[in-house]
């Protein structure tokens, strides 16, 4: 239990230190490295300790802590009211005031008599989440050490508030650990709200007009989700006097349904599902480490985490069907919209929402196979997506653009970075790696429960294949002759993080049979009692493919790069006499220049049309979800 509290409190202390220590201090960096080591080591230790045990619950005297949290909540609420009034965002004020009033009244009236048995707990799912938050989260913090100085060099107009930045990031990690270890719903809500405010402030780091707008959009939406959360727990306590996650799930469905729907709603907002996806796409105005953090290991993962936790309470209800469809619609529409985007960060953002949609749908189906693949999706997505965001962050400054169309010949200009990026992309969509295994199992889970979802998955996968492949093709194209290499001056902090995450991507793929048999299968057994029919042979085949590729790729690259000399290298065929690599002599002795562009299919997948469709459909589904819960 002490370890859990340590994981929550330790980043908090570091956050305090980060605020105090002066910038550019060697001590500061040392502490950053030590923190990263500790935050990665402790979850691993937890894994080893609790691997053979089922869920473990820890009783804590919670009254004092709860009152303390209430105090902090009031302070945060006051702070939000302050910044919102300053920015003339009155809707935010309204949301935060309503939410805090409910919470205060609730705690004052019922808080004293509330019996809470176990406030903290740990099970295999928490351990998986802790590993993700600890390792990936702290790796991103290391990256930020190298990245932010360069950020401020490129953006002289942005006020240097690096201390405030590190403070927020560590606070964020602390709150994430809080979310995944809390069994007490009041505590869970407290940490939930901290991640809301932290993410909003991080999004607004630049402090210019678009950032402030995005900041308040994120704040408004997540406060709305928080309001749903509050209503859910107040309702829960008033009807059944329960305030714990494990008891909520075991409750009779007539009592548990409404709170579960409310909490799932909060989760939908936080994981940026349609109709709330715009806060996450708006969040790309923030410095890259923030995007990486929001998209991979924290924020959005907190959203799907609670949905997965409350999903059993929704079993076999119409509300669960609606939740599944919201996930499906988000998956499909955002995968389509990603095709039409050339802004690299936006493509990544849409791909995040798309994958989360799949996880939400799996959670709503709530069969052993579906949960199995949801957990795998969470793991693979966290690793690969953080890697990709961090790569794009570096490319942005080396090429002064985040547009995919400007990434021609990237492999010649940033060879190592491109290689790392290829690993990330392969992890996101290519057959034997990561995501595809989970998609494979997801598809089977869908067919057994709802063939309609299988159809959505068929179309969505095709779209996913499209936007990744054309991006991959863009960055590996080569031209004859010399191109300036711009890879110098990528700081060693950034390299270090990229190396770690690339290694992690490969490792989780290789270790996936172990992860499945050691962590996920036992978790499924704990929850459902029976393990899904083992895909033994298929796992073996995919694993063989993976190992085969991992051996073939380096060997092949070595052979074709260094050994094979039996070829004649020529320029490309351009339709006339080549003048240089990109120009040729066309008809009438004119000089023609070639340019390579990708397809974006705006006519079919344009954001302007699809986004509205997605919002309308998902909003309807959301209304139905609440409607059927309250009837």
């Amino acid at each position: 239990m002490n370890l859990l509290i340590f994981l929550i409190v330790f980043p908090l202390c570091i956050a305090g230190l980060a605020l105090v220590l002066p910038l550019g201090n060697a001590l500061r960096r040392t502490i950053g490295v030590i923190t990263a080591m500790v935050l990665s080591a402790v979850p691993i230790y937890l894994l080893v300790t609790y691997l053979d045990q089922g869920p473990v619950y820890f009783p804590i005297e919670s009254h004092l802590v709860s009152s303390f949290m209430l105090g902090i909540e009031v302070l945060i609420a006051a702070f939000i009211v302050y910044i919102s009034i300053k920015a003339k965002q009155y809707l935010t004020v309204l949301l935060v005031v309503v939410q805090s009033l409910i919470m205060i009244v609730f705690e004052l009236t019922s808080g004293g008599s509330m019996e809470i048995e176990n406030s903290l707990f740990i099970d295999k799912f928490s351990i998986i989440m802790a590993l993700i938050v600890g390792i990936i989260g702290s790796a991103i913090c290391l990256y930020a050490i190298g990245y932010l100085p360069e950020y401020h060099q490129h953006h002289k107009e942005v006020k240097d508030r690096r201390r405030y930045f590190s403070f927020l990031i560590y606070l964020f990690l602390s709150a994430m650990f809080g979310i995944i270890f809390s069994n007490n719903l009041i505590w869970l809500f407290f940490f939930w709200e901290i991640t809301t405010i932290c993410s909003a402030l991080l999004i607004g780091y630049r402090n210019d007009k678009p950032s402030i707008e995005s900041q308040f959009r994120a704040l408004k939406m997540n406060l709305l989700g928080g309001l749903g959360f509050v209503i859910g727990i107040v309702y829960l306590y008033n009807t059944s006097h329960v305030m714990e996650l494990d008891k909520l799930i075991r409750l009779d469905q007539s009592y548990a349904l409404i709170p579960a729907v409310c909490i799932a709603f909060a989760g939908l907002v936080k994981s940026a599902q349609m109709p709330f996806s715009s806060w996450l796409t708006g969040a790309m105005v923030a410095p890259t480490p923030v995007s990486a953090l929001l998209h991979s290991s924290t924020m959005v993962k907190a959203g799907v985490y609670v949905i997965l936790r409350v999903a059993p309470a929704l079993e076999n209800t119409v509300a669960a069907k609606m939740l599944m469809l919201i996930g499906g619609v988000s998956f499909l529409i955002t995968a389509f919209m990603a095709i039409s985007q050339s802004n690299a960060k936006k493509v990544l953002a849409y791909s995040t929402i798309s994958n989360l949609g799949l996880i939400v749908a799996c959670a709503a189906i709530n069969t052993p196979a579906a949960i199995w693949s949801a957990l795998l999706l969470i793991i693979f997505h966290a690793v690969a997506k953080s890697l990709l965001f961090l790569c794009v962050g570096i490319i942005e400054y080396k090429l002064d653009s985040r547009d995919i169309e400007d990434m021609d010949y990237l492999i010649m200009r940033l060879p190592k970075l491109t290689a790392v990026m290829m690993i990330g992309m392969a992890g996101m969509f290519l057959a034997p790696f990561g995501m595809i295994i989970s998609k494979f199992v997801t598809l089977k889970a869908f067919i057994d429960t709802n063939p309609g979802m299988a159809i959505i998955l068929a179309y969505g996968s095709a779209a996913t294949l499209f936007f990744w492949t054309k991006w991959m093709g863009k960055i590996i194209s080569v031209r004859h002759g010399e191109t300036e290499v711009v890879e110098h001056r990528v700081s060693r902090w950034e390299w270090f993080t990229l190396d770690i995450l690339a290694a992690c991507t490969v490792l989780v793929c290789l270790a996936f049979p172990l992860i499945a048999s050691g962590l996920i299968n036992p978790y499924i057994t704990e929850v459902f009692g029976n393990v899904p029919p083992p895909e033994g042979f298929n796992m073996m085949v995919t694993f063989a493919m993976m190992v085969g590729l991992l051996i073939l790729l380096p060997l092949g690259i070595f052979f074709f790069g260094y050994v094979n000399k039996n070829y004649k290298r020529v320029g490309t065929y351009l339709g006339g006499a080549n003048l240089s690599e990109v120009t040729f002599e066309g008809a009438m002795a004119s000089t023609q220049t070639i340019r390579l562009k990708n397809y974006y299919l705006k006519k079919y997948f344009g954001e302007d049309r699809l986004f509205n469709v997605g919002v309308l459909v998902s909003l309807t589904l959301l209304c139905v979800m609440f409607g059927v819960a309250f009837i």
């Binding site: 057959a431 595809i436 492949t469 991959m472 080569v478 290298r569 490309t572």
Partner: protein, 293 residues
């Protein structure tokens, strides 16, 4: 009729794979020869001998190795290996879904090879090739879904020995599959990314910068892939092996016939029509099947 399945069941999985790896290029090559002969006759020409495709490929392997990007041929090797792997999995009787995904991986390597050379024609061809993949991928996945709904299994070994004719349960899926098979066989009206015919507006499309042995390898891969696809057609009629074999060959000839009778579509039409056809034929079939349960 039981002799074919008797032999099939007698063989172990590795043996089945070996038989596929050895026989498929022979069958694929001869089918390609039939294709060329038939096309020629339909156009009023005499046409080459049936074994001409083999001579062509042998000749390609004797040509000089000319490249633009020294890694370009590696992606073709991977394309070749993974197509073989998918086919071997299929004929060994493994999971149909796995075959579909691994075939998509092979296709991705081909596309990446086309992108890697950085030539405008090849780039456009690769771009169109991805588009074609996107166009046919939903239907291929739905094929697996439909098969599973009808039989309760994804295993090819079990699908092939179904006593009831699957075609009766999956007419929509079969029609949809026929439609996208034209894309897979690289036949008009859908031969956008590269074409065997001379009427190609983007030079040789995705294979513009590939020559000699690499081009030969692409051709052989194509033969393997064709045999695999005809194997999928076979599944619909697995209740009677002779009927199934005849239908598979007939489907191939039908695609050649279509090839001769159509001009190339624009990519917009190819893409939209494939998705719509998949939606109408495939989805309605799947919904009916789920209601039957």
């Amino acid at each position: 009729m039981n002799t074919i399945y008797g032999v099939y069941q007698l063989m172990s999985m590795p043996e089945r794979m070996l038989v596929f790896l050895v026989l498929a290029p022979l069958v694929g090559g001869f089918l390609s020869g039939i294709d060329r002969k038939l096309s020629a006759r339909l156009q009023g020409r005499y046409g080459p001998p049936l074994r001409q495709p083999f001579f062509d490929v042998l000749k390609l392997f004797q040509k000089e190795r000319i490249v633009v990007n020294k890694f370009q041929n590696f992606s073709i090797v991977l394309f070749f290996l993974f197509t073989l792997f998918s086919g071997a999995l299929f004929f060994a009787g493994a999971d149909l879904l796995l075959v579909v995904f691994s075939l998509a991986l092979a296709g991705t390597f081909f596309v990446l090879g086309g992108f890697a050379v950085g030539s405008p024609y090849s780039h456009l061809g690769a771009e169109r090739e991805v588009l074609q993949m996107v166009a046919y991928e939903p239907m291929v996945i739905l094929l697996a879904v439909g098969m599973y709904q009808a039989t309760g299994s994804f295993k090819v070994a079990e699908l092939v020995q179904q006593q009831q004719p699957l075609i009766l349960y999956l007419p929509g899926i079969f029609a949809g599959f026929l439609y996208i098979l034209t894309i897979k066989f690289r036949k008009s009206p859908f031969d956008l990314s590269m074409s065997h015919h001379a009427h190609q507006e983007i030079v040789r499309g995705i294979t513009t910068e590939f020559s000699g042995p690499a081009l030969g390898l692409i051709e052989i891969t194509h033969w393997y892939e064709n045999v695999l696809l005809l194997g999928m057609v076979y599944l619909f009629f697995g209740f009677n092996p002779w009927v199934a074999l005849v239908v598979s060959v007939a489907v191939y000839l039908f695609e050649v016939f279509i090839d001769m009778n159509y001009a190339r579509f624009k990519w917009q039409l190819t893409f939209a029509s494939s998705w719509i056809f998949t939606a109408v034929a495939g989805i309605s079939n799947i919904i009916v099947l789920s209601l039957m349960k």
